[in-house]
Assembly symmetry: C2
Homo-oligomer: 107 residues x 2
């Protein structure tokens, strides 16, 4: 059981242009990203399910080779082990939810 103030959480630039704050529970990781425009995230995949929620700005998410332009209020569910990549069309804020925990995002 824990309480966190997002405004006070340490943030970390995990990839160039992708700065995140992370909440972990036993089974979940929630990542709050600030993303700079025009910084590509190369194609990758992971066993974690991922739900992408664009909060501000516009992000191009490419899943299995198909690009999707996602504006504020759009949500995309990426199943386990599906290759995906992305790039901010503008500066963006995105909330990503992962299951299970992203151990690699524990700093």
């Amino acid at each position: 059981m824990k309480i966190k103030d997002l405004s006070a959480l340490e943030e970390r630039e995990v990839f160039p242009g992708y700065t995140g704050k992370f909440i972990h529970s036993d089974q979940l990781t929630i990542a709050h990203w600030r993303i700079k425009a025009n910084h590509p995230l190369p194609e990758h995949s992971h066993p974690h399910e991922q739900i992408v929620h664009v909060v501000e700005g516009e992000f191009e998410l490419t899943v299995q080779g198909v690009p999707h332009r996602l504006g504020a209020g759009m949500v995309f569910v990426i199943p386990s082990n599906i290759p995906h990549s992305g790039i901010g069309i503008s500066d963006c804020k995105i909330i990503d939810t992962f299951c299970p925990v992203r151990e690699d995002y524990k700093f």
Copy 2:
């Protein structure tokens, strides 16, 4: 794999004063709630982990009998099977993330 526009998702008043939109994946449910002030949510528990994120307004979340006043930007991790209740101090927007899926929120 699915894409959703939150602004176009059907919403449902699940409890009096608690109106939600729901995203489900294989392992997760994300609930986007609009909550009216002064509508109590009685104490309950469930096997699902729950991460509560107050987006707007102020919500009093009581966990194991201890009240916590949560303003915008506050996040609370509720482990499995922990009794909790709540009430909006003001009108609020809250994002709840559950694992596993809340089958009872599939309409």
